[in-house]
Amino acid sequence: MALLSVEGLRTQFATGAGTVRAVDGVSFAIERGEVLGLVGESGCGKSVTSLSIMRLVPPPGQIVAGRIRLEGEDLLDKDAEAMRRVRGARIAMVFQEPMTSLNPVFTIGDQIAAAVLAHEGGRRRAAWDRAVEMLDQVQVPSPGERARDYPHQLSGGLRQRAMIALALAPGPQLLIADEPTTALDVTIQAQILDLLRRLQAERGMAARIFEEPLHPYTRGLLRCLPHPSRFGQPLSSIEGAPPDLRGADAGCPFAPRCPLAIESCRRHEPALAERRPGHFVACPVAVV
């Protein structure tokens, strides 16, 4: 059984200007020890997907359809108290800007210890020791001293490490990292990515990397990026803008911007189909 399976998730925001379909029928599964990457441009629904899994979608947002199963239990059936016991303890989240998710008036050691106490109980002293141990695990130098620091006393990189320690302290099964390195410098980014990869490798399972993207949107995104073999040459870009999420157009949402779109793309929304082993693509014309 997959650790997490999401089926037909739909999350919508009712606004004065119409209903925004932020997540519109998303399905995927994550196995134990696996890393699933979620990529897309701003406004594509990445963060709303993560918030839906945590059931933390802010109003007026609402999950209107779908199933979110953690080890087979449907999270959408849980009451608020049961869901509170899932968050943090079984699914944890790391955000882009740790300054907004850490409490500025408590030391980071106190915050990690509080998370340990809330989820596992035990003695305060033991929880503090556990906090220092967690900071050591995420490679914070002098963890005993840093535990007594307030978030503003730490650099961006150390703050993100503290945030990861806080997220991992209760021993969650699933860690959702929402743009965890976007606010960091590239060398610090490399350190945090290495750390996340190391923490994941300890539980072990190789990430599957697609050597070749198949969907025209994926290919388009990759061609937008500067590449050493094409420095100085014009970049390809994806023409047009992402669709208005309030629209109710039939067909593939990428069709208006797609260079390969055919008539049927505008009429029927393509379903995800396994075009290569383990590689699913929602495009009937993708070159395989």
């Binding site: 701003s42 060398t187 990515l193 990759l222 937008c224 500067p226 590449h227 420095f231 014009p234 994806i238």
Partner: protein, 329 residues
């Protein structure tokens, strides 16, 4: 041909701290002895992490902030020696494009007035002629002339950045300082704006100082690249030489740390130790030594100077005296 821009020994010190009745004022060397030249029509890229002094360098060149020391020559004039009226006149030829098009456009002005403002300030044209030039500039940056009637909040990030570029072009400058012009944009829009900047360069013979934290974007855009670390240029050279054979460990680290979205192109990863030192407590010797994977004793005491390591390629690392150690060959 004489360089369009020539900078020598540029320095900027900011003093910080010194709270009321207590505390001590301390000095930050944001830019500490930077020298380079940009030829007419050339793109010089400036890359480095936050706080390395790249944005300050860009603003110093335009004298948007005053240097603490150093010389800046632009089109043959010593910018530090120009009288205020001459400086005012010279500034038409040097413009800047900012990172955040959400913050740099006046929300109360229509797009047409934003683009026409430089023309009005320099009394380049009457109202009718200004309107005609605004339409032309909108067309040049790939927008419909009808955009002149809109307000910035009605536009997407990419459209706003095009407006910023149109306003920078209005006075027909020779130099544009582009300070992180695509950092706030999604990759598909980023590609469009980069293509536009390349196209404008060819069309109008522009010279760019292209500043970004994104090494691949800088490599893509530039003829030559300068790498900054804690207020200093640690390596400068032609794009291909710097990419293929970087001669400073920091450049090597940046290249290995910057992810390339291509699984077939894997560099050996060198992850640097620790974090960038505070500019308030600059390390002795080589400023990069506490993080350098190749550090040895001399680096802790002796500051390496930029030395030529190849055609137009300079690096500030002691190991270039024995390059085999640097390249691991």
């Amino acid at each position: 041909m004489a360089p369009l821009v020539e900078v020598q020994g540029l320095e900027k010190r900011f003093s910080v701290g010194g709270a009321w009745l207590r505390g001590r004022r301390r000095v930050i060397h944001a830019v500490d002895g930077v020298s380079f030249a940009i030829e007419p029509g050339e793109v010089l890229g400036l890359v480095g992490e936050s706080g390395c002094g790249k944005t300050t360098t860009g603003r110093l060149i335009l004298r948007l902030i005053e240097p603490s020391a150093g010389r800046i020559r632009f089109e043959g004039h010593d910018l530090m020696a120009l009288s205020p009226p001459r400086l005012w006149a010279t500034r038409q030829r040097m413009q800047i494009v900012f990172q955040d098009p959400f913050a740099s456009l006046n929300p109360r002005m229509r797009v047409g007035s934003i683009i026409a403002e430089p023309l009005a300030i320099y009394e380049r044209a009457g109202a009718t002629e200004r309107r005609r030039q605004v339409s032309e500039l909108l067309d040049v940056v790939g927008l419909d002339p009808a955009f002149a009637e809109r307000y910035p909040h009605e536009l997407s990030g990419g459209q706003r950045q095009r407006i910023g570029i149109a306003a920078a072009l209005a006075l027909r400058p020779s130099l544009i300082v582009a300070d992180e012009p695509v950092s706030a944009l999604d990759v598909s829009v980023q590609a469009q704006v980069l293509n536009l900047l390349m196209d404008l360069r060819r069309r109008f013979g522009l010279t760019y100082l292209f500043i970004s934290h994104d090494l691949h974007v800088v490599l893509h855009m530039s003829d030559r690249v300068a790498v900054m670390y804690l207020g200093e240029i640690v390596e400068i050279g032609p794009r291909d030489a710097l990419y293929r054979a970087p001669r400073h460990p920091y450049t090597q680290v940046l290249l290995s740390a910057a992810p390339v979205a291509d699984p077939k192109l894997r560099r050996e990863r060198i992850v640097p130790k620790g974090e960038v030192a505070s500019p308030l407590a600059v390390p002795s010797g080589c400023r990069f030594h506490p993080r350098c994977p190749l550090v040895f004793d001399r680096c802790r005491v002796e500051r390496p100077l930029l030395r030529t390591v190849g055609g137009g390629h300079e690096a500030a690392c002691h190991l270039n005296e024995a390059p085999a150690l640097l390249t691991g060959a």
